[in-house]
Assembly symmetry: none
Homo-oligomer: 122 residues x 4
DNA sequence: GTGGTCTAGACCACG
DNA sequence: GTGGTCTAGACCACT
């Protein structure tokens, strides 16, 4: 879990954020679950603690987790809340892509086909 | 045309590339059309010539344009080729987004609705 | 009573201090009332005794309570004294905020409106 | 300008943020004004560049400034926008303080007097 | 030269 | 032990 890909162009702290959110979305970490300590996670992933700290800090500012000095970081939101927020972001991005594609001549049927699952045969 | 937005987080050279490709896709610049010279475009956009040079270089690497020493840069492909290549990229990105959305619980109908135009009929 | 909110960014020992002061201000604990022992309160709140100790220590330093070796901690002040000290602090903070707000263009009437109760008349 | 007070308990990066916002609010730095570079400001204030970077980063995330890689950071909002946002924050804090004060027995007239300017004589 | 990210190591407040 | 901040120094992408 929480795999880091150094070849990915996205910054590490962002990958960590996504990894944590995924654990929450999947329900593996419910509300008030304590997440791994900054130092521990840094050790496991062979990453500098500051990088983990930054990821946790951003997540806290977004309200996804909350931190208690001297105790640790904890999940605040229910997974469904995080999930819906993520879906909104995806929807926004897809709408933009669709807009550009339409300007290039694609029609709605094509676009629909692109986003359909792989069971598109038959 | 070829508007640059400094507030955009995307690098300038990328915005220039997109601008050039758009001129080609729209058919404003057909095959073998000579592009504005590096210095001229740099002057018009108040941009460092190095940046224009990089944009042209990347476009040449992609085969969208070709350069002739001492004469300038020229459009190589027909607009339709560029258009289809762009659509492929968009398709790829949308497929990835759709995949993630599906993992978050979205179904094909929702995804289709997201990419549909707001009312382009009539 | 003396509820602790781990999600609150304020340190626990400060929340404990506030809780104790509130009991005094409300008159629930009069002068010379014995406070719950460090260990007992720590147990009730599921908190480290060190934290309670620190809260009591700070309160003693402020003169709100006094401790007798081997016997326990006791309320020293009358509730009204604590109350007036608290009001002074609040007054000070509000004056600072008001000063900043005035520099930003707010006038006295606005400020008055902000601090007025929502409809406590009748 | 942009004075840092090391005795202040607030983190340095926050003081820097406030300093920048003040320059904007006062109209000293209008929209699209380029702010001092990370390294330059770090040098002037004898502060580590990372700390300035953090301050700038937070301001960008709030939309107060925008950054262009390789060029610098620039003011995005008009001062009035920043000002109104700040006033909202202050109003919120004052409302909370007022609430507590009222629970302690203060009445609206007192509170009004506390927030009035120093020309309170007469 | 600019901003953006990361590492390494340190200090502090809190529990 | 925990998180939060800061410093120092490095590397990268972009202009």
């Amino acid at each position: 879990m929480l795999g880091i890909d150094y070849r990915d162009s996205r910054p590490i702290y962002e990958q960590v954020m996504d990894g944590v959110e995924e654990m929450i979305v999947r329900g593996v970490w419910g509300p008030d679950t304590q997440l791994p300590s900054v130092r521990q996670l840094a050790g496991e992933l062979s990453i500098n603690p500051n990088t983990i700290q930054r990821a946790y800090g951003e997540l806290e500012k977004r309200g996804v987790i909350y931190s208690v000095k001297g105790r640790g970081n904890f999940v605040s939101h229910d997974g469904s809340l995080v999930r819906s927020r993520r879906l909104e972001e995806i929807q926004k991005q897809m709408a933009e892509l669709a807009e550009t594609a339409r300007e290039l001549g694609a029609d709605d049927e094509q676009l629909c086909a692109w986003v359909r699952g792989k069971g598109e045969n038959a």
